[in-house]
Each structure stands twice: as structure tokens, then as C-alpha cells.
């Protein structure tokens, strides 16, 4: 193997059509962002699956740790008053 660096890993996000959000669809290796975009086009949109692509070098993503899911997400669990069904309305009110 050469002493040169290996191509870094990139995460690929594709917007399938205008009006929809970009969605993560996978990852790939590329030397730089231009090549990452071209490779993403060839790997993830061979059948017109996209109208826009984002690539982000994987090392730049900060992710939450599932082991901390308790303190991270539980505070929302007991806040039922954030949902409309928490509130009692008379039956006569059909829509609100």
C-alpha cells in the first residue's frame, strides 16, 4: 500500500424532488468534495432518484450517543400537554 492517504468517507443526502427534504441515503469515499458529488450522482441517482445532492465529510458530523438516549430524549416523554389530545373539549366542538 502507498504511504498516501486513503480517500475520506462522505455522507450523501439526496432531495428526490423539489418540495421534499434532503434525506440521508448512504456514504462513499472520494478524494474531495467535487469528486464526492460526482460519485454520489453515479452511485445514488442512477435512476433519476434526485434533483439535488449534499455531501458532507463524515468526520464533520456530530451524532448523539444512543447510550445517553435516556437523559437525551426522556424529558419529552412526560410532557403530554404538548399534544392536542391532552385538552378536553365539549363534543359539540367538532374541529379544533
Amino acid at each position: 500500500m502507498s504511504d498516501k492517504k486513503n480517500w475520506p468517507l462522505w455522507e450523501v443526502f439526496v432531495r428526490s424532488k423539489n418540495g421534499l427534504e434532503h434525506r440521508h441515503c448512504g456514504s462513499l469515499h472520494a478524494a474531495d468534495e467535487d469528486m464526492a458529488l460526482e460519485n454520489a450522482r453515479d452511485v445514488y441517482t442512477r435512476r433519476s432518484e434526485g434533483v439535488s445532492i449534499w455531501v458532507v465529510e463524515s468526520k464533520n458530523i456530530t451524532a448523539s450517543n444512543p447510550e445517553n438516549n435516556g437523559e437525551m430524549f426522556e424529558p419529552a416523554h412526560d410532557k403530554v400537554y404538548r399534544h392536542p389530545t391532552f385538552y378536553d373539549l365539549p363534543d359539540e366542538v367538532k374541529h379544533m
Binding site: M1, N6, R46
Partner: protein
Amino acid sequence: MSEEQIKNLETQFEARIARDEKIEPKDWMPEKYRKTHIRQMSQHAHSEIVGMLPEGNWITRAPSLRRKVALLAKVQDEAGHGLYLYSACETLGVSREELYEQLHSGKAKYSSIFNYPTVTWADMGAVGWLVDGAAIINQVPLCNTSYGPYARAMVRVCKEESFHQRQGYEIMIKLANGTPEQKELAQDALNRWWWPSLMMLGPTDAESIHTEQSMKWKLKRKSNDDLRQQFIDQTVPQAELIGLTIPDSDLKWNEERQSYDFGEINWDEFWQVVKGHGPMNKQRMKARVGAWEEGEWVRDAAMAYAEKKQERKQKQAI
């Protein structure tokens, strides 16, 4: 972590899978789950990559432009499928370089079917129809496997793969309805690819060492023998429809089972090929390793160019 804590985590983990919850890359998982997944996913990825070789062999000699663009697109898909699967595999903390190294050194296996030669154009038909047909049967249940990145990769693969089988069968239809020589080519390809395709679905259940654990983790949803039976039942009528004969004198419809009975598979041949003594094992690895080594300067040049551009950008910013 104490042994008891690990045991506890493992019990919770198995319960999650039993509830059909998906496991994602950063979730805790037993080491064996991680290892088994790296092994199966990488083997799958390697099969896609090596699988390009037998068909790549015919791209320049495809008999028409229609056949050529289809074959080219199919081989390109296989490269893509290999990439989806390598990416999914890398989420488990193994690098692409390690995976390639395992393939090139012979430590990792790929599907034994690709160690058979593609000697005539009809083989492009038989490979698409039978090999991709068997692959689809193997892969569809994996769309629901427990490891999220693998399941998502399989959904994409399965969506794209159905054209592969159709293009192969179309080649067979054309040849089977052509001149006597063409029909003979089609029959000959079927004769050579039928048994290896049945073997491709893996050893019999009694011999399959990974089945039980893999079933639990939903890495496998049906046993090898069930998949094989499904493949045979679906393929025999397709052969009959185009007037080709399955090369198995014991093949017979079983009214009671509503399934085909079939002859003995030559498992010695299967194990020989798995162990590296198939007709094309050496050539396949030579082509693969050669492509990797001859491409090294391109990979290095691309990296050097990327670094140069980056430096230039930084200088301009100052």
C-alpha cells in the same frame, strides 16, 4: 463491564430484535453480532464486485447496442451494490481498506458462482436469469433484516435487481426462439449454470453452520433449502415456457407437496469451488487484485490533487 452486565445487555438486545426493532450503528451490540454482520455484509459486497468480472467479459462483444447498454448498466449496478454494501459494512467500524485486504488475500469469501466461466453470449442470459434470480430470492428477505444499514442497502439493491433478471431472461427467450444453433447455445448455458445456481443458495440446512444464529438475528429469514425449493419452483415453468429443458432427470412435480422434487446436488463440487479450486478462482482474484493495484496511482493522484486544491484555497483565504 462485568459478565453479568453484558449478559443483561445481550438479553435486552435479543428482545429488541424479537420485537422487530432495528439495530443502528451506534447501538450496543454483542461482539458476535458485529462480527457476523461484517462477515456476511462484506461477503455480499465482495460478491457484487467480483460478480462484475464474468459479465464484464462480454460487454465489448454484446450482439447489439440494446444488449450492450443493458449489460453495461447491469454491471454498473453491481458496482453500485458493492458500494452500498461496503458502506453499510463500514458503519460497524471496519475500514474499506481492511475489507479489500480481506478479499484480496483470500481471507474473505465471495459467492462461489462467480468462479465459473462465461464462455458464450448465452451465458449472459443464463447469469441474469438464474444467478440474479437466485440472488433476488436470497436478498428479498434481507430487506427486513435487523441491522438497519444492511436492510436499507438491501431495499435499494432489490429494487434495482429485478431488471437484471428480466434482461437475462429476455436474452434466453430470444436465443431459444432463434436458429437451432442459437437454441442450442441457450440450452448449453442452462445446462452449465443450473446446478451452480442451486448451489449458490448455500449448503443444505443440515450442513449450514450459521443458520440458527442468523435466523435469530433475522440475517436469514428462510433456510437455504426453503430458498432453493422456491427458486426451483419458480424457475422450472420459466424454462418450459421458452422450450428449454432443466438438466435434471429426477426433476418431477410432486402433487402432494405442490412443489418440484429434484435430483442430488454435487456438494463435492460446491466445496471444491468454495475452497478455491473452481475453474475461475485464480483468474477472478488476479483480475480483481490487478485492477486494484493498477489503479493505485490514480487514487494517489486524485488525493494529491485534492490536497493541492485545498492548500491553494487556504492560501487565497489568508
